[in-house]
C-alpha cells in the first residue's frame, strides 16, 4: 500500500522537521515501515512537530504547513537541530 495523507505530509517537510529535531528520528528505518499502518498516530506527531516549529520560529501556531511556515522553512538558517536530543533522548530546557 502507498502512503496517503498528502504523501505523508510532504516528504520534504517531514525531513525538515526530523533534521531540526522536531520529529523523532530515533528509528527512521522502522518508522518508515510503521507509518504506512499507523498514519493516524504519525498524523498527531506531525501536527505537534509543526506547532513546535511555528512556536520556535515566532509565527502563528496553527499546526498546518501554511504559507508562513513554508516561508520559515526556506529561510537561511543554522544546520544544528533546534530541539537537541541527547543520547538518552531527553530534552534539555533552561
Amino acid at each position: 500500500s502507498r502512503p496517503t495523507r498528502s504523501a505523508l505530509h510532504d516528504k520534504s517537510v517531514r525531513s525538515y522537521l526530523e533534521n531540526f529535531g522536531y520529529l523523532r528520528k530515533d528509528r527512521p528505518e522502522v518508522a518508515n515501515l510503521l507509518m504506512e499502518n499507523a498514519t493516524q498516530y504519525y498524523e498527531d506527531d506531525f501536527r505537534i512537530a509543526v506547532k513546535t516549529l511555528q512556536e520556535f520560529g515566532g509565527i502563528p501556531v496553527t499546526g498546518e504547513v501554511d504559507e508562513a511556515t513554508q516561508r520559515l522553512m526556506v529561510q537561511k538558517r543554522c544546520g544544528r537541530p533546534d530541539v537537541e536530543t541527547g543520547l538518552e533522548g531527553k530534552r534539555r530546557k533552561r
Binding site: S15, E18, N19, F20, K25, R27, P28, E29, V30, N32, L33, E55, F56, G57, G58, L72, V74, Q75, K76, R77, C78, G79, R80, P81, D82, E84, G86, R92, K93, R94
Partner: protein, 544 residues
C-alpha cells in the same frame, strides 16, 4: 537561552582556521579577522579568552566545506543551511563548519544585497562551540534563523545570560594584566618620609583600561618586548622571506610585530637578491646567497595561501604478496591465502541462496552441504570479468534484480551471473555517494524493509534501487544501528531473515525490531560460518 550541557573545562580557549579546508572565495587573512571579531563578542561577555593558534589541534577549528564533508550533516549548496558547529568536547567538539557554497560577506552590506554576513553566522556558530543551543527568542544571536547583523552589534541579553550562566561574567581586570612586567600598580606611588624627593615612573595602563591616564598614547602597545618569551605576540611573518612587501594586504594589521628585528610590514624590505649571471644565454641557474637552502622548494606552511597543499593520498590497494612458503609437510601455498578458521572477512553476501565470504583476493562458498571443498579460491576464478590483479573487494551484495554488485575502492562492478554488465565499472558518485568517499565498508538488502543500505566509516546511506541513487536525507550516523559501532567489515541477511554484522573475527546478530544487537559481546565468526572447531577459532578472551 538553552544550555546544551557540555561546557569547556578551561576558559583560555584556542582557535584556528583549518589549514586544509579554507574558504575558496575569501581572503584567509580577512576571514580570520572576522572570525576573531565573532569570538570577541563572546569574550567580551564572559570569562572566556580566545587565542588564535596555527594548529589543527585547537579547541575550535573553523573550516569551510561543500556538501558532504565527513560528518553526518552535509551542506546543501547556496541558501538554506549556512553552517553548523559542534558542542564542546574533544576531537571535533567545538569545531565550526561553514558552507563554502554560500556567498559570504566580510563587510556588512545593505539588507537588500545578496550574501550572508560571515560575522553574524560565525558569532552564532561559536555560541554552539561554547555550549549554547538554539534559542526561540527572536533577535537573540542563538535564534536559529539568519537575521543579518546590525552595524553596532552588541550581544543580546538572552545570549549574554546564557554564556554567563556557563562561564561567569567578565572579570574587571583584563587578562593582559597578568603579564608581570605590565601589571598595573594598584596603589599610587607614595611620598617618602625622607627629605629627598623621588620620582617614580608612572605604571603602564592599557589605553582601554578605565584608569588610563589621559596623556597616555592610545596606540601604545602593552605587548612585552621579548619575542622569545612571548611568541604569541610575535607571529611568524607569513611566507617569510619570499614576499618582501604586502601590496595585496594594504590593511594588514600594522601594529603587529614580527619575530625578526628588521621586519615590518609597512617598510620597504631589502632582501638578498640573486647574483646575476653574465653568460648569454645563462648556462646555469643563478646563485642565491643567504637564502635558505631549500629554495625554491618551500616547505609546507599552512598560513601560505599560495602554497600547493598536499593532496590527499589516493586510495591504494594493499600490495599483492607473491612470495610462496613451504609448509612442514612440503606443500607450497601462497602466503596471502587466508586461514579459514582464523581470519576477518572483507565481505559476506548471500548469492543465489549460497553464502559467499570474501577475504583479500580469495573467497569461500558455503552451500546447503556446508563449505565447498577446495576453497578458498581466487575471486577472479568465479568472476573472471573482475579486474586482473584484484587484491580484495570492499563490499558485495545481490541486488533485487539478481545482479551481483562488487564494490572495489571508488568503483562499482556489476555482474550478471559471472559476466560484467556493459558500462561497468562505474564510480560510486554515480550512486549519489560523495566524491570524497574512498570506499564502502559493506552493502546489504535489509530483509526488514527490502531496502538497500550502504555503510562506510561512521555513516550509512539508504539506496533507492529504482532511482539508482542514495536517498536525499542520508548519510546518517551509524549509531542508529545500536551496538555495532563504526567501521564495520560487512553485513548481510542470512536465510533466517536476521541481519548479521561482522567486524574483526567476530559478528553480531541484529534485532531488526529493536534496532540493536541481540548480544553486546561478539561471537566468533569461524565456528558459526565456516564450521570450524570452536577451540581452534575461538579466543578465550571475550569479543567486544
Amino acid at each position: 537561552f538553552v544550555v546544551q550541557g557540555e561546557k569547556w573545562k578551561h576558559t583560555n580557549l584556542t582557535w584556528s582556521l583549518s589549514s586544509l579546508r579554507r574558504p575558496s572565495q575569501l581572503d584567509p587573512y580577512h576571514t580570520r579577522s572576522v572570525l576573531a571579531r565573532a569570538l570577541d563578542v563572546w569574550e567580551q561577555a564572559s570569562r572566556l579568552t580566545f587565542t588564535e593558534v596555527n594548529s589543527d589541534d585547537a579547541d575550535i577549528v573553523v573550516s569551510f566545506a561543500k556538501r558532504y564533508h565527513d560528518d553526518a550533516y552535509p551542506f546543501d549548496g547556496r541558501g538554506s543551511i549556512l553552517a553548523h558547529a559542534f558542542f564542546p568536547g574533544s576531537g571535533r567538539g567545538g569545531d565550526a563548519h561553514f558552507d563554502d557554497d554560500e556567498l559570504w560577506l566580510l563587510q556588512p552590506k545593505n539588507d537588500d544585497e545578496e550574501g550572508t554576513s560571515l560575522f553574524a553566522v560565525a558569532a552564532h556558530e561559536f555560541g554552539h562551540s561554547l555550549g549554547l543551543s538554539h534559542s526561540s527568542v527572536k533577535g537573540a544571536l542563538m535564534f536559529p534563523w539568519y537575521q543579518g547583523i546590525q552595524p553596532n552589534f552588541v550581544l543580546p541579553e538572552d545570549d549574554r545570560n546564557g554564556i554567563q550562566q556557563m562561564y561567569g561574567p567578565k572579570e574587571n581586570k583584563r587578562t593582559w594584566a597578568k603579564i608581570p612586567s605590565y601589571r598595573p600598580v594598584e596603589t599610587p606611588p607614595t611620598t617618602t618620609t625622607t627629605t629627598t624627593t623621588t620620582t617614580t615612573r608612572r605604571p603602564y595602563i592599557h589605553h582601554r583600561h578605565p584608569n588610563r591616564h589621559p596623556n597616555q598614547h592610545p596606540g601604545y602597545t602593552p605587548y612585552p618586548r621579548d619575542p622569545s618569551k612571548y611568541p604569541a605576540y610575535y607571529p611568524e611573518r607569513p611566507n617569510y622571506p619570499h614576499r618582501p612587501s604586502y601590496p595585496e594586504y594594504p590593511n594588514y594589521p600594522d601594529r603587529r610585530r614580527y619575530n625578526t628585528t628588521e621586519e615590518h610590514p609597512r617598510r620597504t624590505h631589502h632582501y638578498p637578491r640573486p647574483t646575476e649571471t653574465t653568460t648569454h644565454p645563462p648556462t646555469r641557474r643563478p646563485h642565491y646567497p643567504n637564502v635558505r637552502p631549500e629554495y625554491p622548494y618551500r616547505p609546507y606552511n599552512p598560513t601560505d595561501r599560495n602554497h600547493d597543499y598536499p593532496k590527499k593520498k589516493p586510495y591504494l590497494y594493499p600490495e599483492k604478496t607473491t612470495t610462496a612458503k613451504t609448509t612442514h609437510i612440503g606443500v607450497v601455498t601462497p602466503s596471502d591465502k587466508p586461514d579459514t578458521c582464523d581470519t576477518s572477512y572483507d565481505a559476506v553476501a548471500l548469492i543465489r541462496g549460497e553464502l559467499f565470504i570474501f577475504k583479500n583476493r580469495y573467497h569461500w562458498r558455503i552451500g546447503a552441504n556446508g563449505r565447498y571443498p577446495g576453497y578458498p579460491i581466487e575471486i577472479t576464478r568465479m568472476w573472471p570479468s573482475l579486474p586482473k590483479g584484484l587484491t580484495h573487494v570492499d563490499a558485495v551484495y545481490e541486488r533485487p534484480d539478481k545482479k551481483i554488485a562488487f564494490f572495489v575502492g571508488k568503483e562499482l562492478y556489476l555482474c550478471d551471473s559471472q559476466h560484467l554488465v556493459r558500462g561497468y565499472p562505474k564510480p560510486l558518485t554515480n550512486l549519489g555517494l560523495p566524491e570524497s568517499l574512498e570506499k564502502l565498508d559493506a552493502a546489504m538488502v535489509w530483509g526488514y524493509n527490502g531496502k538497500t543500505y550502504f555503510y562506510s566509516g561512521t555513516m550509512y546511506w539508504k539506496y533507492d534501487e529504482d532511482e539508482g541513487r542514495v536517498e536525499l536525507d542520508y548519510p546518517r550516523d551509524m549509531s542508529m544501528w545500536k551496538g555495532v559501532g563504526y567501521n564495520i567489515d560487512s553485513v548481510f541477511q542470512w536465510k533466517d531473515g536476521k541481519t548479521y554484522f561482522f567486524k574483526g573475527k567476530g559478528f553480531w546478530k541484529f534485532n531488526d525490531l529493536q534496532m540493536r544487537v541481540e548480544h553486546e559481546r561478539q561471537l566468533p565468526s569461524a565456528p558459526m560460518w565456516m564450521r570450524c572447531p570452536a577451540e581452534r577459532a575461538g579466543r578465550r578472551a571475550p569479543y567486544r
